[in-house]
């Protein structure tokens, strides 16, 4: 195993992974969905007759053909949607009378394979009267076109913090304002969504690449009207999720319903084109900010207003922007912070958590605005941040927007980032270039982020167990589900360390609701922080149980039994130690079940970027990127490093490349797939240096915070700030992500900030 960095790598990197699409079940039918070509419209009729005549087609159904088809289950998890938002706004699994996003499923065709199913789908006809499409929050807010007749498009209004007294702005030495667009992003996992439902008698086994198998089981049981113990959800190898695989999607509802109705296995393997149109989107906020400071650069007040385009139906995207509002304060001691949210329905597939999930939007807004303020005040942006950081002694720190930060040392992270970058040398290079009219402009940007990991109250616990076997090995079970993060490596090593046995003697079982009856799953950077803490706790309990048994066996008080390196032995009499396996042999099965609750954690860091801009073409060349992240106690440096690099690349994607435009009909211009929606490729990745500071979380004995989302959160603002610094532009609104060449070219021609200050 030594040649592989992670235990799962031999399997995943040599083509031996087994994904949902690799699972062959005799008699399985493949689903193809007939999808709406319009973004918004009234559905008049769907005719599946011709599809049913196509050879190999087992059946074709529209909503009218399936009166018992349940709707997509809504969720009020973590307060991310509300009863008010979902009331009267049902999401049908197949369109009944109104299309609300392009690609929404109008009908389903099942056939012996996907080719025949697609041939059948091509024969389905639908009559849709197009309606004006509402794509932007601004267009949706005025309710001139409503997605649900008689109901407002605005499904949630929320706030964090207290309204700021107007005198604060009036009396401040400097006030800056800006508007930012957090564009819609596609999570783009390598493996798109997949579900396979296999009915057997009264039971249903569902295979799916999924982050929350227990939630999927619970929601499927509810929509089928079954008890949860009749459903088993198994998560096989899964090619990424980034937040996009935790729901019971419309297609999943249809597949489960038809599998049970027909008594046959049914699968749906989403292809890339479907994924680009109908998988969840991330971000999607129009923001305005106002930030005030006194003449010394001490922050006085910060206001953030968010209009979030959440897609065609109220789902988790309803409350997701509140995550941004709660995290609006950032890393600073600003006394007055007020954030307001309006979540509005728009004619696109729903927005949903995507790696970062509300925190990148918050970090990007405050960090871009800090640079704007620094330029206004004529203070170095580093110095401005240092003057306002929450100091280490102030933790736990209650923010004006309702968060209680657990621990942090923000200045230490920034110092390490600047030292690693060579900040002073780059400033000198920048000065040299500014004196040379022929040199390409160079800019330096930093972003000091704070985020939240682990989840929200009510979702901060995890379930699991440890079982010792007669051969001395241990099986760990937990309710998380890896979609590629390396749980098979990290969790056994963690358990082995506590028990004092070799890593190879511990095996992980997860992502199977029959093996592990309760669980929450993997989201919000919580697996290491919460499930890791649970397993550490379970391991200490296993040791206690082993000592108690040994005490019984040997007739000794338990405090005379010691544990060392996976063995028990009497403290005093010098008898030979007894291994865990022998203890099981002589005392019977040894298993501890656990449920453990962690505290919310607040990882942080400082990212710094150097960019060179070609003002004539508008191209941005990232010369250096430094990411200093603090996720508390690091369990596996290689795994954390991989998370840091991967998420930084996705942050680069948001800053420079990823985005979609829409036609006048509201349909996104994605016909050519990844030729239209550009992901950064290996060619675009700059040198990324990852370093860390380690400030343990006091929320668990383990002390780990989430490490999975740092780059998405910290990197975008560092890059945009670096470009703004290179161009010295006065108007921050000109630099909207992604910083495409045309945008940067236009920004480069705009007035410089020396000429443009108020």
């Amino acid at each position: 195993m030594e040649q592989w960095t992670r235990r799962e790598d031999e399997r995943l990197l040599s083509g031996k992974g087994r994904y949902v699409a690799d699972i062959s079940v005799p008699g399985c039918l493949d689903a193809a969905f007939v999808r709406s070509p319009v973004a918004h419209g009234a559905l008049r009729a769907v005719d599946c007759t011709a599809a049913r005549e196509v050879p190999g087609v087992a059946g074709a159904w529209s909503a009218a053909d399936l009166p018992d088809l349940p709707p997509v289950p809504y969720t009020l998890l973590a307060g991310l949607a509300t009863e008010d938002a979902v009331a009267g706004r049902e999401w049908p699994a197949l369109v009944k009378d109104r299309v609300r996003y392009p690609g929404e499923a109008l009908a389903v065709v099942l056939a012996a394979d996907r080719y025949r199913a697609e041939d059948g789908a091509a024969e389905v006809t639908a009559t849709i009267d197009p309606l004006p499409a509402v794509v932007t929050p601004a267009a949706a807010l005025d309710d001139s076109v409503r997605l649900f007749d008689g109901l407002s498009n605005t499904v949630l209004r929320g706030e964090a913090g207290q309204p700021i007294d107007p005198s604060v702005w009036r009396d401040a030495a400097a006030v800056v304002e800006a508007r930012y667009r957090q564009q819609l992003l596609l999570p783009s996992p390598m493996e798109c969504r997949a579900v396979l439902a296999v009915p057997e008698g009264d039971w249903l086994t569902v295979w799916s690449g999924h982050q929350m198998p227990h939630r999927l089981r619970r929601e499927l049981a509810a929509l089928l009207g079954w008890s949860t113990d009749r459903i088993r959800v198994v998560v096989p190898d899964t090619g990424g999720a980034f937040g996009s695989k935790s729901a019971t999607f419309p297609e999943f509802v249809v597949v489960a319903h038809l599998a049970v109705r027909l008594g046959r296995p049914v699968c749906w393997i989403e292809d890339r084109r479907e994924s680009m149109f109908v998988a969840t989107r991330g971000r999607g906020q129009d923001q305005s900010v106002r930030l005030a400071a006194d003449a010394e650069g001490r922050l006085l007040a910060y206001e953030l207003t968010i209009d979030a385009d959440i897609g065609g139906y109220p789902h988790l995207g309803v409350g997701l922007p509140m995550q941004t509002a709660w995290m609006a304060t950032g890393a600073y001691t600003t006394p007055h912070v007020h954030a307001t949210v309006r979540s509005v329905l728009t004619n696109t597939m729903v927005t949903y958590p995507y790696r970062g999930a509300g925190r990148p939007e918050a970090a990007s807004a405050i960090e871009r605005t800090m640079d704007l303020l620094a330029r206004r005040l004529g203070i170095d942006p580093i110095e401005l941040r240092r003057r306002n950081f929450i100091p280490p002694a102030a933790f736990p720190y209650a923010t004006p927007t309702g968060r209680r930060y657990d621990s942090g040392n923000y200045a230490a992270a920034l110092d390490l980032a600047l030292e690693t970058l060579g900040y002073e040398e780059w400033r000198a290079e920048q000065a040299r270039r500014r004196a040379d009219p022929d040199a390409l402009p160079l800019g330096i940007g930093v972003s000091c982020y704070v985020e939240r990991s682990g989840g929200e109250p009510g979702g901060l616990h995890e379930f699991g167990s440890l079982e010792a076997h007669e051969d001395g090995t241990v099986t760990a079970r937990c309710g998380t589900a890896s979609t590629g993060q390396g749980h098979e490596t990290v969790f056994p090593a963690l358990v082995a360390t506590v028990l004092g046995i070799p890593d190879a003697q511990v095996r992980l079982v997860e992502g199977d609701t029959d093996e592990q009856p309760d669980g929450l799953g993997s989201f919000a950077s919580r697996s290491a922080q919460v499930a890791g803490a649970m397993l550490q706790h379970a391991a200490t309990r296993l040791i206690e149980e082993a000592r108690a048994r040994a005490a019984d066996l040997w007739g000794l008080p338990v405090d005379e039994i010691e544990w060392a390196d996976g063995t028990v032995h009497p403290a005093h009499d010098g008898a030979a130690a007894t291994g865990l396996g022998d203890l099981v042999k002589s005392t019977g099965p040894l298993r501890v079940e656990d449920r453990y609750e962690a505290g919310m954690a607040f990882p942080f860091g400082a990212h710094a970027a150097v960019t060179e801009v070609d003002p004539d073409l508008g191209t941005v060349h990232v010369l250096r990127l430094v990411a200093v992240d603090d996720c508390g106690v690091v369990l596996d440096p290689a795994v954390v490093h991989g998370q840091a690099v991967g998420s930084a690349v996705q942050g680069i994607g948001q800053a420079l490349y990823e985005g979609m435009t829409f036609g006048a009909d509201g349909v996104p211009n994605l016909a050519d797939g990844f030729l239209d929606y550009l992901l950064p490729t290996s060619t675009e990745i700059p040198p990324i240096v990852v370093k860390e500071t380690r400030t343990p979380s006091p929320g668990t004995p383990l002390g780990a915070k989430g490490a999975g989302e740092s780059g998405c959160i910290g990197t975008p603002a560092a890059l945009v700030n670096a470009v703004a610094d290179a161009l010295r532009i006065a108007d921050p609104d000109l630099l909207q992500m992604p910083l495409t060449p045309d945008r940067v070219w236009r920004a480069a021609r705009a007035p410089k900030h020396e000429e443009g200050t108020r």
Partner: protein
Amino acid sequence: MKPATFDYVAPRTVAEAVEALGDPGREAQVLAGGQSLILEMHLQRSRPELVVDINRIPELDRMSVEDGELRVGALIRHAAFEAADAVPGPLGTLLSRAVVNIAHPPIRSRGTMAGSFGWAHPASEWCAVGVALDATVEVTGPEGPRALAARDYFLGPYRTARGPRELITAVRMPLLGEHTGVGFIEHRRTHFCFAQVAVAAALTVHDGVIGDARIGLVNSADRPVRARAAERTLLGAEFGPLPAGRRLPDTHPFARAGRVAAQEDAVPVAEPYADVAYKRQAVAVLVGRTLREAATDLRARLAAPEGDHR
């Protein structure tokens, strides 16, 4: 891949291929490298009833130099041009500088130059090189072979003068003679995607004066463009020393040619993240830079020892 149903034939000779294409009852497509066809069929935007796979026709897999022209058979892959000395003289340099912008190495090992001419995407590098150099497209159909000049060949996006029953057998390009320098610069958002704009240029200098200039514009109209107005501004101009700095002064002939190309030759089509104004800007900048690259290439050639034909 989930294409619509199609029939497939793999002829062994050009005559057999033409015969297959000649079936009036079926819409046919020619498969060479499949660089574009496979994607289009996968998305069912192209639904040919018959795919004529020409990969087993040996006579199409030949590249030769005849009468001062390079003749590229229809099966010659992009990768064949990656080495600058694969083709003699400045043409080899130009093709090698252009080819690295075409997709990725695995695709370049399958896709063909003739296929690019057949598909006629406005962002095709080869097609712009072709119009700049007055390439010739050889086709064979039921009526026999004919040769089409590149300037008459491209009719619009994906539209050419080739008849549906005709097979492209080869593309011919004139070898560029002595005293010619070449350049190719492409601008795109990531290495993966199509060019927003790219420019091919060849400058020929005699007695210190620019005697011939050829400029091809990629993705600057609905078809490849030869920037004749820009070329004219250069003819007869003195081939002077290049400016020392990175940027061309606005008064430099190359910068002037760039502005003319942008305003008079280009007819940009707006795309997401590249409207007409931005594309004109990119054309102006890239033409200037590519001419400069060609001039630098020419100086290197003139300075090279006798017999060094890079």
